[in-house]
């Protein structure tokens, strides 16, 4: 049960990133899977570099797709995903890398330390976002206006492009960091991140049905989906 709860936390935060990209940046960011994998490969050199590379790719995606409509931006993100995958194949050559991990005892349970850390970071990310949602009504309103219509948001003087850049940079940095931690102890290959992205996309799609309540309900939905499957 405890590992189920930790997994649900991680998937909820990843799904939140997918949902924010879709609603605010207007892109179904298909590069998240490869960014997650990239985090795993980069963790070989040090975990601290994972958010930097993730943020850089998020910025690249923003700059490259800011003048595109949603469908073209989504295809552009797929292009980035394939480019990352191919780069990993070329740079790392070997097909199977087993990442290091450390064992950690949590109330008598044996856990992988890096997975535990990923869960804690995810929990913090969710709490911070919910605090933003509940405590900052004006910022929340701005986000809602962008989500509904970017042109309207610009008419109201909201810098939608800046919001888009922030969302893509933070979500990509987050995916890369969690990839670096959550893939620890696993054998990785350049395509492994797709599994996590598809699962997060699945949770985000269900949450999106609940429209305004989506961000609040994302954790219980993630828990329910993890438990069911």
């Amino acid at each position: 049960m405890i590992s189920l709860f930790f997994s649900a936390l991680i998937y909820a935060s990843l799904a939140l990133c997918v949902l924010l990209s879709y609603r605010v940046a207007k892109v179904v960011n298909l590069s998240f899977g490869s960014i997650f994998t990239l985090g795993g490969y980069l963790s070989v050199f040090g975990l601290f570099i994972t958010p930097i590379f993730g943020a850089w790719i998020g910025l690249l995606l923003h700059i490259g797709s800011k003048r595109m409509d949603a469908s073209k931006a989504t295809i552009f993100s797929l292009g980035i995903a394939i480019a990352i995958e191919e780069a990993l194949r070329i740079l790392f050559r070997v097909e199977n890398i087993l990442l290091d991990s450390r064992i950690f005892y949590f109330f008598g349970y044996k856990l992988v330390f890096e997975h535990f850390l990923a869960s804690m970071i995810s929990a913090t990310f969710l709490i911070l976002f919910l605090a933003f949602e509940l405590k900052k009504p004006f910022s929340r309103l701005k986000l809602k206006v962008i989500e509904e219509d970017i042109e309207n948001a610009e008419l109201y003087g909201i810098d939608a492009e800046k919001a888009r850049a922030i969302v893509l940079v933070i979500s990509s940095a987050f995916f890369c960091s969690i990839g670096g931690l959550y893939l620890s102890g696993r054998v990785i290959s350049p395509t492994i991140g797709w599994l996590y992205m598809i699962f997060s996309l699945f949770i985000a799609t269900i949450a999106n049905v609940f429209r305004e309540k989506a961000y609040i309900l994302i954790l219980p939905i993630s828990f329910g989906v993890c438990w069911l499957v």
Binding site: S3, S7, R89, R93, I103, R186, V187, C226, V229
Partner: protein
Amino acid sequence: MIGKLKAGLIVGLIVFLLFCATPPQTPTSQPQMPEIKIGVLVPKTGEFSSAGLVMENAAKLAEKHAKEMGYNVKVIIYDCGDKPETTKTAFLSLVREGVTAVVGTYSSPQAMTAADIANESKVVFVASVASADLESKVKTGNKYVFRNAYNTSYWGILAVEFLEKTKAKSYYLIGYEPLKTFNLGMFSLIKNSTKAEFRGESWVKSPTVSPEDYKRVAQEVAKKDVEVIIVGDPGLGSVDFVREYRLAGGNATIYSVGGTLALPDILAKLNISGIAFQAAALEVKAKTNLTKKYFEDYRKYYGTEANNYAGILTYDAILIVTQAAARGGDLISNLERGTFIGAAGVYEFDENHQAKWGSEKLQGTIGIYREGRIQVVS
């Protein structure tokens, strides 16, 4: 006038002598053997892509080694994905390229589809990984399909051999849903052939449906009192399962069908004692002069240890087709009657076009990782 005639005669004589002195023209190169084009179906994308990369590397290595042996071979690699539909498209593309034969595919449904397309297009197909019931295709008149990989029975025979050798009293089966046909066939043979007590079975869902399902299964199985756990997943998930199983307190010996859990560097880094695995060949137990060359060159060119099943058997399938095609005449007759050297042993095919695994010159190997090194069980 006479002087001019003399000069003409002298020049003519010189030209004649020069002509006679010119060595006869020799061909600059030996006449080339006709090119043997071999199509390889590799799952570069989809659920089996990690095995696909190994198969692709092994196919390129086979082409290189075949050329070194003097064969004029060209290997054409196509992505067959993880579904029968994508396999069909890739197979037909290879037929359009004019290949002599097609080798490869990964899962059983893919191999069954490839066998049907081989029959329709009259192009030989050699299944190098899948254990599907291809013999039934041959029995019903499809003479274009061969298999150099194990059939389901042999997978089961090896697992039973391990249970008998280790005198295990009980066992538990862990199936992998994307390879259900293969796992069910193998499990059925084990249940019917061993004296060890069957303590149950669990199935790990496809990671695309549930990436964490191995945790549920590992925690469930860790509570069972059992001596040997037989794992049917040759992919990356098997490592996740083993790690989670040990974390949950399970201490049974794990017998894996190979693949990722047969890689020496993975086993060394994982450093969990009591992981047994089957391999078509092991570097420490050379079967032909190609065994060592395959493992050494794979490491040299790709910077990693050779995968022991999907890779080596794809390598062997290409060499088998090359040797058969180079003999000239009908490829099918050559395959049916010939003897072919590969890295895993010496191949011959039975009346159902199945490689004679279990014969004296072609046997699988069982290894176990214990006390920091791989030991050969049989």
